[in-house]
């Protein structure tokens, strides 16, 4: 009898452990409005991608996406970020609900034509990976206030900009669910796991 109780207890313990996988955190401030918790969301935006198509929040409606900030002439961390983002692109090839969004922080130089060429040379398709440009102020503002990523001009830097190498995981409700170092393979592995977890929750 005792053994049976112990057995049930152990089984119970194991099953409870596997069930309670912690949900991904929700980043940013939260408020309670009329008894409901309101979470930090990505603000409204409108940019233009490498095919001159307008990209807004609605482009990612009912989609999970990964966002980052870069520029094409950057020779420091961006090539590493693009190598890692290409891994994400390849790993999510069979996930129609997962998209990628790369913002240029040098819109004066990175025109639509240049981004088009860049994406083509990277060998990626524009319906899954949007490279966007827009007004410099709007890009910097959304980077800092919506994605909590650093992006600004700085003439003292070798390439003229400072920006973080972060990848941000955004859920279907436009909330940030993860932040990863896009220059580190291990951290990007974590992102790939989190994408799978998030997709399961959304199912």
């Amino acid at each position: 009898m005792r053994r049976l109780v112990l057995f049930i207890a152990v089984v119970g313990l194991i099953s409870s452990c596997t069930k309670t996988e912690k949900p991904l955190p929700i980043f940013g401030q939260r408020e309670v409005v009329n008894g409901d918790t309101v979470y930090h969301k990505i603000a409204k935006f409108q940019f233009v991608d490498q095919d001159s198509a307008i990209v807004t929040n609605d482009t990612f409606k009912d989609q999970i996406y990964v966002a980052d900030f870069f520029f094409t002439t950057c020779r420091t961390i961006c090539p590493i970020m693009k190598t890692q983002m290409l891994r994400v692109y390849e790993a999510t090839a069979n996930m129609p609900d997962v998209k990628l969004l790369s913002h240029t922080i040098d819109p004066k130089y990175d025109t639509v034509a240049l981004l088009h060429e860049f994406a083509k040379r990277l060998g990626v398709s524009s319906d899954r990976w949007h490279f966007v440009t827009g007004a410099q102020d709007s890009i910097y503002k959304i980077a800092q206030t919506s994605y909590f990523a650093t992006a600004m001009e700085d003439k003292s830097e070798p390439d003229g900009f400072i920006h973080s190498g972060a990848f941000l995981l955004i859920d279907k409700d436009q909330r940030i669910r993860g932040k990863y170092d896009g220059t580190k393979e291990d951290d990007v592995n974590r992102l790939l796991e989190d994408i799978n977890r998030l997709r399961k929750v959304h199912e």
Partner: protein, 146 residues
């Protein structure tokens, strides 16, 4: 007793194995070039060309297998220092992303980087001496001034 000639032969083979002349000295120099070159490559080159030397898409050309490198040693030395823009054909594919030069590199550092990339992956060129590099760099400086 029988072993003696055998031992003798082994010694002969070992001696001849490490090339005649002052080569042990040379190989130390090669090792130094290669190790320093690897570090410099990691700092200045691997962001784009990757640690594996495979490059990235059609943006950054590969170095691990490169007919351009095989055929254009002088140009490679010059472009490490001075950069390069415009179209570049590598292994039959067109690349067109400007590469910034690194004018602060010394001739020795360029020789070390060249020794590293020309003896990694599929390449086995041997040491690329600083004297050779200095000579090549003088010529590319002159041609760019013309």
């Amino acid at each position: 007793m029988n072993r003696l000639p055998f031992l003798f032969i082994i010694i002969i083979i070992e001696l001849s194995g490490c090339n005649p002349g002052n080569t042990s000295n040379k190989s130390v120099k090669y090792q130094q070039y290669f190790v320093e070159g690897e570090q410099l490559y990691t700092t200045h080159c691997s962001n784009c060309h990757q640690k594996s030397g495979k490059g990235l898409g059609l943006l950054y050309p590969p170095l691990d297998q490169s007919d351009y490198m095989d055929q254009h040693l002088s140009e490679v030395i010059c472009l490490i220092k001075n950069g390069k823009s415009g179209e570049l054909i590598v292994n039959g594919k067109s690349y067109n992303q400007p590469m910034p030069g690194i004018p602060t590199l010394t001739d020795l550092e360029i020789a070390e980087i060249a020794t590293f990339i020309y003896n990694s992956w599929t390449h086995e060129q041997g040491i690329i001496d600083v004297k050779e590099v200095t000579k090549i760099l003088k010529e590319c400086d002159e041609s760019s001034q013309r």
